[in-house]
């Protein structure tokens, strides 16, 4: 076969000649056209199904497109096929009532059946959406469809229901009618509305049950290999969507619990956390998650903990300046002696009215008060940290979770109370050194003097250091904690980091970009040396500066530029470092111990930063420019000294 000669055709555009037994017909336009037929036996029904299907293709399309993002890919092909159907004609709603009837499965091929069901779904969905009050009865139909045996149909049904519910569910929570209310006499409208609501809720709960069962079944995939995972996934996603779109509706706790059980709907949870104003939901979610994780003995995917990073703990628990202003004002008002401002009666009345108005305004705005927020978020925080600590204390099999935990700690460390700091420090130190793991007894930890242990990853170590630093820069300044060990650790980490080509690799997942090791490193350095407090020993700073210069020679350009800029800032902040820039006036004796992993003892002032000259001829222009700036600065500084 001549490969080149043979034209290749797209599958889509391939028009299979359709063999038909029928004679051509004349369409309304007067054109002759071959009647289209399916490859199935039963043309009539299928034809009619088709023509009607066309009419509702539009509706279907929209429904489909709504969850195109959520669809499993396997659905995609068929959807496309359907949606590329050329034309559709408008039909009226009444005609579609016919298709509430179940298509007969036995008489169709699977494909036909699916399409038929799709059509039905589309029609019903359309109907409901167009007239929500009346259409609630059709929800039941949807429900039935969704309980179909065919998994695909089931999925479609679930998705349709999702779309529908998303549209028709009200924002508020429909509560149960009390006895009194039920007996009260109401107008027709109200009664009708109540009925609708009841039905709505009822069908919703059914739907939810469906989702739950589906997802639970999927979870049992280990026990039951034949379980329908995809349906479960779809169901989970549906749940996630629901909670996002209508977070305040009924059953949300149940939804949450289910979600949490699955905990694969990360995106949903993330959004939840982000948008959560009152904090109650977050708290619920977190608590449930915590319990679940505990139940599973912490054998969870690290991504389970990732959403927690998006909790609004930081902002919420930090005092807002506006809140503080308000607080101060309130306090001031209370403390102020009630000066008897003589107000006329009119004025007093006005004031009272004004106050009432204000109050109702506040209610209307539904602002969540600060206290409530604090309460919820405090709870959340507690849960989060309990989990973290439990994870940390786990000695076995913590590998995967550790980075996530550490990142969380790094982010929220400043919220921990002071008593925990010392323990936390100890723990972090142990982890850093790789002494915290399976089968490491007391004796080994003594011998494990190597600061850089192969047991612990670079990332983990960096995160440990970062967490420790965050803790310190927040409230830890009250304690005179000596983070000498962390300095030593970071110093010892620099050479391996220099040899690490993937230092700038950031893991870009769909939820967030995980910080690269380069970022972590420079954040650590920033906190260590460029913070508010000056580092006590200039020898240490010099040792770091020298090592960073060495590493900058090996690093990829971006990191190298950052390194040079960091050194520049160091030189500005610690003017005594200019000894490193001059090779002549060397005070002190002895050699620079390049390989010693101890910044205090390596005698950095016996050497000078000759790497800068190599960096000046770096292949990357950015590096060259940064080095040139640094050297310029150094020259001007030297000129200032006359001695």
């Amino acid at each position: 076969m001549n490969y080149e000669q043979n034209l290749r055709r797209f599958e889509q555009t391939e028009k299979k000649p359709k063999l038909t037994n029928r004679l051509p017909i004349k369409t309304a336009d007067g054109r002759l056209a071959l009647p289209e037929n399916s490859d199935e036996e039963n043309d009539d029904i299928s034809d009619s199904a088709h023509t009607d299907g066309e009419s509702s293709v539009g509706g279907e399309q929209s429904a489909e497109e709504q969850h195109s993002t959520l669809e499993v890919d396997s659905d995609g092909d068929e959807d496309q096929e359907v949606s590329t159907r050329p034309s559709y004609t408008e039909t009226k709603l009444e005609e579609q009532d016919d298709y509430v009837i179940e298509p007969d499965r036995s008489r169709m091929t699977r494909k036909q059946y699916i399409i038929a069901q799709q059509n039905r779904l589309a029609v019903i969905a359309d109907a409901i959406m167009q007239d929500p009050d009346n259409g609630v009865k059709y929800l039941k139909t949807l429900h039935n469809i969704s309980s179909d045996v065919d998994p695909r149909v089931k999925r479609l049904g679930l998705l349709t229901q999702l779309a529908v519910f998303c549209d028709i569910l009200p924002e508020y929570r429909i509560r149960e009618l009390t006895e009194k209310e039920q007996q009260a006499k109401v107008t027709k409208d109200v009664r009708q509305q109540r009925m609708h609501e009841e039905q709505l809720v009822h069908s919703y709960s059914n739907y939810l049950k469906q989702l739950f069962t589906a997802s639970k079944q999927a979870l049992k995939v280990f026990a039951n290999p034949s379980a329908d995972i995809e349906t479960g996934i779809v169901a989970a996603r549906a749940l996630g969507n629901l909670i996002n779109v209508r977070p305040l509706f009924n059953f949300r706790k149940d939804i949450l619990s289910a979600l949490v059980d699955i905990y694969t709907a990360r995106l949903a949870v993330l959004r939840l956390f982000r948008d959560d104003v009152s904090g109650e939901l977050s708290q619920n979610a977190v608590m449930l998650a915590a319990k679940r994780i505990k139940r599973l003995s912490y054998r969870v995917d690290p991504s389970a903990l990732r959403p927690w990073l998006h909790l609004r703990l930081r902002e919420e628990l930090r005092e807002n300046p506006e809140d503080r202003k308000r607080k101060d004002e309130e306090q001031r008002q209370r403390e102020q002696p009630k000066r008897a401002l003589h107000m006329s009666k009119k004025q007093a009345k006005m004031r009272k009215v004004q106050q009432d108005v204000d109050k109702s305004l506040v209610e209307a705005e539904a602002e969540v008060s600060r206290e409530e927020r604090e309460k919820w978020y405090g709870e959340t925080l507690k849960q989060v940290f309990i989990t973290y600590f439990r994870i940390l204390k786990q000695k076995d099999n913590i590998g995967g979770l550790l980075p996530a935990v550490l990142e969380g700690l790094a982010k929220y460390a400043h919220l921990i109370s002071v008593e925990f700091f010392v323990d936390l420090f100890q723990l972090l130190k142990k982890i850093m050194r790789g002494q915290h793991g399976v089968g490491i007894g007391a004796e080994e930890s003594e011998h494990g003097e190597d600061l850089v242990s192969s047991r612990v990853g670079l990332r983990t170590a960096l995160l440990c250091i970062l967490s420790a630093l965050h803790i310190l820069t927040g409230q830890g300044e009250a304690l005179n904690l000596d983070i000498k060990d962390f300095f030593y650790q970071l110093y010892a980490l620099l050479p391996p980091l220099a040899a690490r080509p993937q230092i700038e690799a950031t893991q870009a997942t769909w939820e967030e970009t995980v910080r690269s090791e380069s970022d972590l490193l420079f954040e650590c350095l920033q906190l260590m040396f460029l913070g508010r407090t000056k580092v006590s020993s200039i020898t240490r700073v010099a040792a770091f500066c020298k090592r960073i210069a060495e590493c900058a020679l090996c690093w990829p350009p971006k990191t190298a530029v950052r390194a040079i800029e960091f050194m520049h800032r160091l030189l500005i902040k610690y003017p005594a470092l200019d000894r490193l820039l001059s090779s002549e006036e060397q005070a002190g004796c002895g050699l620079y111990l390049r390989d010693l992993d101890d910044p205090d003892m390596c005698n950095p002032f016996a050497t000078c930063l000759f790497e800068l000259h190599w960096l000046q001829i770096h292949y990357h222009a950015g590096v060259q420019a940064a080095t040139a700036r640094l050297l310029n600065f150094a020259k001007t500084e030297q000129k200032k000294h006359r001695l």
């Binding site: 000894r579 006036e585 060397q586 005070a587 002190g588 004796c589 000294h641 001695l643």
Partner: protein
């Protein structure tokens, strides 16, 4: 110094005036009285002058004054306090003079003033000039030497104060700020037995008065004018004209000859006769007199052909000069001879003057522990006024003044610096020890050079610090430890025992024990206690030491093979002669450039001895030219470990420490 002068009570008024004046004698009163005295003087002088006018012209004194001033200004600054007591004494003088002629006689010096009348007058004149100049110099000296430390002045102070006291009694020829001296001087002179000099000196004085302090003179003249009648007016104006003409002529002459011509005293200076000399030897002299005489003789010797006294030989002038200088500066004759041989006469004076003043205190930063920049900053923060010594050193700092004792700051105790004379840096800079070398410092105490070597070597290699004096070794060890020089081994041998003890060094520094003529400013006893036997002993020791030093060096060392010989003495016996001896005795060495770009080259010939031409590579330093102690530095390079004493004999100097490398290496010289 100034303290004394300030607290001094004003000299009480003479008897006559005291009775007249009631109440406190304030300065104002004193001045007024002075002024009145001046006026009276001028009147008398005018009267006298009229008599003299007919006799001779008044030679202008300007050129002479200028010359004197010039001469004096180049010499190092004398003590400023010399002037102040004299100021007091001036006041005293002025009080005395108006009283009566008798008092003037009382002014006559207690000592041999009458015995040497000739000299006194001119001395008076010279003195006045010198006082003038010294005043001016003192003023400028105040500006420059504001920060000399007190102790150094203490002893000098005593000497010069005594000097001043003596001088003050004699001063009747002071031309001072009051400017009336001319009057008093002339008065005095006329009272004394007249000599040929008197007229001149008198005129000279008056000229002095006119020349230097014109305003006062005009005042005086105006006063005179008032007193004088119209008849004298004409004569006075004629006199003035004549004077001016004379001045112009003298100026022309000066331009032609290029030398200050002082007509007035040319022929008038006479050496004292032998009897006078004998007498002078026993009795204490007037120091100002002596100084004047010195100046005079120098001037004469400067233009010997014209200014000499025909009867006297140059030698006589010279010997008188030496005698005077010994007396004035306090040296013994032997040393004076030696030192005078080194310099031209004018420079000799500068040298001696420089020896009277202490050199500024200098410190050396210990680069093992601190940088000069940081050290300077921390000392400045303690209130020390300092500056780098010069471009030739990166570790030296001069201390001008300090609120805290320099030898007791926390930085000193931490070993960041060492108090060391600037001249002591030089041999080590010349030696330039490198890292990982073996260096020997043969005469190391108190350890400044040793620790500098260790600092330059950055505590690598080895420095053997040897000193023969056990007592001084304590200071050496203390300094070594304080400054943190961990590569120093201290031992106590006679230097001549090297290289038997240890040899094969890369570099050797020999700062030989010497007579100390370069550090007279630190230790004035050198002036008197050095005699010929000391020199003989010292030079012999130095010669032996330098040979030992040369033999201790390993010529085959890759980086070294250098010997530095240095002394803190300026005499040729100890410096060039020793170097020349070494060059003769050890043909396997040669002199190389010291690496010091300032300093005078050594002598290649001296008083009939001629030295090896390469002696020009050695360096001499003097206190008056370089503002550091007198010093001599010579740097040798050893070319081969074998010494060819004669063509047949090949002597290999023994050295137990000679490395095997040396033996294995082939013959012949490297480098």
């Amino acid at each position: 110094m100034g303290r004394r002068a300030k607290n001094k009570q004003d000299v009480p008024l003479p008897f006559e005036l005291e009775n007249k004046i009631e109440g406190k004698v304030t300065k104002k009163l004193n001045d007024r009285l002075k002024h009145e005295a001046i006026r009276a003087h001028k009147q008398r002088e005018a009267a006298l002058k009229q008599n003299k006018d007919s006799r001779r012209m008044q030679p202008p004194a300007s050129p002479k004054d200028n010359e004197r001033k010039r001469k004096r200004n180049t010499a190092p600054k004398p003590n400023k306090k010399i002037t102040k007591p004299k100021v007091e004494s001036e006041d005293e003088e002025e009080e005395d003079t108006p009283a009566a002629a008798t008092i003037l006689d009382e002014d006559a010096p207690v000592d041999g003033w009458d015995n040497a009348p000739i000299v006194s007058d001119s001395d008076g004149g010279i003195d006045s000039d010198s006082e003038l100049e010294s005043d001016e110099e003192a003023e400028s000296a105040d500006d420059n030497n504001a920060d000399s430390s007190e102790e150094e002045f203490a002893s000098a102070e005593d000497g010069s104060a005594a000097e001043a006291e003596i001088a003050s009694v004699n001063e009747d020829s002071e031309s001072d700020v009051s400017g009336s001296d001319s009057g008093s001087e002339s008065e005095t002179v006329t009272q004394k037995p007249l000599s040929l000099l008197s007229d001149e000196s008198d005129e000279a004085e008056s000229d002095d008065g006119i020349e230097s302090y014109d305003e006062f003179d005009t005042d005086a003249e105006e006063d005179d004018d008032e007193a004088v009648t119209f008849r004298d007016m004409e004569k006075r104006s004629r006199k003035i004209d004549a004077r001016r003409q004379m001045e112009a002529e003298m100026a022309e002459l000066e331009l032609e000859t290029g030398e200050a011509v002082v007509e007035g005293e040319r022929e008038l200076f006479e050496l004292p006769s032998e009897e006078q000399v004998e007498l002078e030897k026993e009795a204490p002299l007037d120091l100002s007199q002596v100084q004047l005489r010195i100046q005079e003789i120098i001037r004469v010797l400067g233009n010997f052909a014209e200014l000499r006294d025909e009867t006297k030989s140059r030698n006589q002038y010279m010997s008188q000069l030496k005698r005077d200088m010994c007396y004035y500066y306090g040296y013994n004759e032997f040393l004076m001879d030696k030192l005078m041989d080194l310099f031209a006469v004018g420079e000799a004076i500068e040298f001696f003057e420089a020896n009277e003043v202490a050199r500024p205190v200098t410190i050396r930063t210990n680069t093992l522990k601190a940088r000069r920049r940081d050290l300077a900053q921390s000392l400045i923060n303690r209130g020390v006024n300092l500056d780098p010594i010069g471009k030739w050193t990166k570790v030296g700092l001069t201390i001008f003044d300090s609120q805290v004792p320099i030898g007791a700051t926390p930085e000193y105790m931490a070993g960041h610096y060492m108090i060391q004379a600037a001249s002591s840096f030089l041999p080590v800079v010349a030696l330039a020890p490198q890292e990982n070398e073996k260096v020997l410092d043969m005469s190391a105490a108190p350890g400044g050079k040793t620790t500098y070597c260790a600092a330059l070597m950055k505590n690598t290699g080895m420095v053997v610090a040897n000193d023969a004096n056990r007592e001084r070794e304590k200071a050496l060890v203390a300094n070594v430890h304080r400054l943190g020089a961990s590569n120093v081994v201290v031992c106590n041998y006679d230097g001549r025992e090297f290289p038997k003890v240890m040899g094969g060094f890369d570099r050797v520094l020999l700062d030989a024990p010497c007579s100390g003529t370069g550090v007279i400013s630190k230790d004035a006893s050198v002036k008197v206690n050095k005699g010929p036997e000391d020199f003989i002993m010292l030079t012999r020791l130095q010669k032996e030491l330098i040979l030992s030093a040369i033999d201790s060096v390993n010529a085959d060392s890759g980086t070294g093979g250098y010997i530095v010989y240095s002394t803190c003495s300026v005499t040729v016996d100890e410096d060039e002669a020793v170097v020349n001896y070494a060059l003769r005795k050890r043909p396997n060495i040669k002199l190389v450039d010291t690496g010091l770009d300032f300093g005078r080259p050594g002598f290649t010939s001296f008083r009939g001895h001629s030295f090896h031409s390469s002696l020009a590579l050695t360096r001499r330093f003097y206190p008056h030219t370089h503002n550091m102690d007198g010093f001599f530095v010579a740097k040798f390079q050893k070319l081969s470990n074998k010494v060819q004493v004669s063509e047949e004999q090949v002597v290999i100097p023994t050295g137990s420490g000679a490395t095997t490398k040396q033996r294995k290496k082939k013959k012949g010289s490297h480098h």
